[in-house]
């Protein structure tokens, strides 16, 4: 079977062996969501492209991903977010403490086979762009189902790296409200995306 049709763990194993083709394949699979996230956070195309390259180069150089601990997609998203927020922090001093989840996220990325929609099939991974697209539309659907107010705080925290108290100030609502909205939003999303994130 050609590398392009292999599941992520197999491709990553090839990457480990120094196979540039494997990097090429993974780029084909994940560069778009990575770039979109980078662009959403950094709000500048050139920087987003630069960060996209950095994320892949880092994956190549450090091989820091551990397939036993979760899917590559989630790992790459966490890396991207954390590094994008790092850049923002470097740019904007007053917001530099914003990154709340990135690091702990990396360390906690264990468990969940966030992949196959067939939750009962461990070892199935979102391989091709097609299944990534399916995943994306499920996420959109789920987001559309949670209250706008919950979505708002979740997105402010995730993309802008704002702390809960910063969100409190921006939206002029009590801290308790921010907390309960974001927690409820996350729990609801988790419920809606159960099939995607359930551990096998």
């Amino acid at each position: 079977m050609p590398l392009t049709e292999q599941p992520d763990p197999v491709v990553f194993a090839a990457l480990r062996q120094g196979d540039l083709k494997a990097l090429d394949v993974l780029y084909g699979r994940y560069s778009t969501p990575i770039y979109r996230l980078a662009l959403r956070i950094l709000k500048a195309e050139e920087e987003a492209a630069d960060l996209t390259q950095e994320v892949f180069l880092r994956l190549w150089r450090t091989l820091g991903y551990d397939p036993a601990r979760g899917t590559l997609l989630v790992y790459l998203m966490m890396m991207t977010r954390s590094q994008a927020l790092n850049r923002i922090r470097q740019h904007q001093n007053q917001r530099k403490l914003a990154e709340r989840w990135g690091r702990s996220a990396l360390s906690l990325a264990e468990g969940g086979d966030t992949s196959g929609h067939a939750s009962g099939h461990p070892g199935r991974f979102p391989l091709e762009a097609l299944s990534l697209d399916e995943t994306a539309s499920q996420v959109r659907l789920a987001l559309a189902q949670i209250p706008q107010a919950q979505r708002e705080v979740l997105e402010m925290a995730y993309y802008d790296g704002l702390s809960q108290s910063e969100i409190t100030q921006r939206l002029d609502i009590p801290l308790g409200t921010v907390k309960s909205r974001s927690r409820q939003g996350l729990l609801k999303l988790r419920q809606l995306l159960k099939d995607l994130v359930d551990s096998p």
């Binding site: 560069s31 180069l57 190549w60 989630v74 709340r100 906690l108």
Partner: protein, 221 residues
């Protein structure tokens, strides 16, 4: 220890607390309770991982139709071709110093300290009429301290996360180090053998008693 160990206390709202843990909005007391809970409950760890994964699927909802520039792929492959892989040892994408695995995160945030410095020398225009200036400075200092306190606390939380991450890295590195030690031990052995084989007398492959070994070098010279 934790509240859930003591049946007479009301049960903790674990789902909310776990969500808060993932979102980073817990008080330090709450965080400690959650950490204890997680240590005792493997299935709660899985729950945290799933919440984490959920959160990181969010960006998949971002606008369709946006894609990285076409040239980036070739550029990346060129760059990767020129980059040697340095597994794990070089992995630590952590900004906090990895070298201090102590559980006192107070020494961690180098950033905030630097920031404090730059803030402290912010220009103060009212500097001539001393008493008033002093009062203003005092107020400013108080405000500054409050602000810094807030910042330091966030920094501390971040540093804790860094630390947790760094400690995992260290464990990993320790494992690698052991492997490395083993490997270089066997390497040393092989090298010894190679040296032996390279001796001019190497046709005598049969093992000889120790009495014989000091001789050959002498014989060579």
């Amino acid at each position: 220890m934790t509240a859930h160990d003591r049946p007479n206390l009301p049960p903790e709202p674990w789902p909310e607390l776990l969500a808060g843990y993932v979102l980073g909005d817990l008080s330090s007391a709450e965080r400690t309770r959650v950490q204890q809970y997680l240590a005792a409950q493997p299935e709660a760890q899985a729950e945290v991982a799933e919440l984490q994964a959920t959160l990181n699927l969010l960006p998949l909802s971002l606008a369709d139709g946006v894609a990285p520039p076409a040239a980036l792929q070739a550029q990346l492959l060129r760059a990767a071709g020129n980059t040697t892989q340095r597994p794990q040892a070089a992995a630590a994408p952590v900004t906090a110093p990895v070298t201090t695995p102590v559980t006192t995160p107070a020494i961690q945030p180098g950033g905030p300290a630097a920031r404090q410095g730059s803030r402290a020398i912010a220009p103060r225009p009212v500097w001539r009429s001393l008493p008033r200036a002093v009062a203003i400075a005092a107020i400013a200092a108080a405000a500054l301290l409050g602000w810094q306190n807030l910042q330091l606390r966030s920094a501390l939380q971040l540093a804790r996360q860094d630390l947790q991450f760094a400690q995992q890295r260290i464990d990993h590195l320790a494992a690698i180090e052991t492997q490395l030690a083993n490997a270089s031990a066997s390497l040393a052995k092989y090298q010894e053998i190679i040296t032996l084989l390279r001796l001019p007398e190497n046709r005598l492959l049969a093992l000889r008693g120790p009495a014989a070994s000091p001789k050959p070098p002498a014989a060579v010279s």
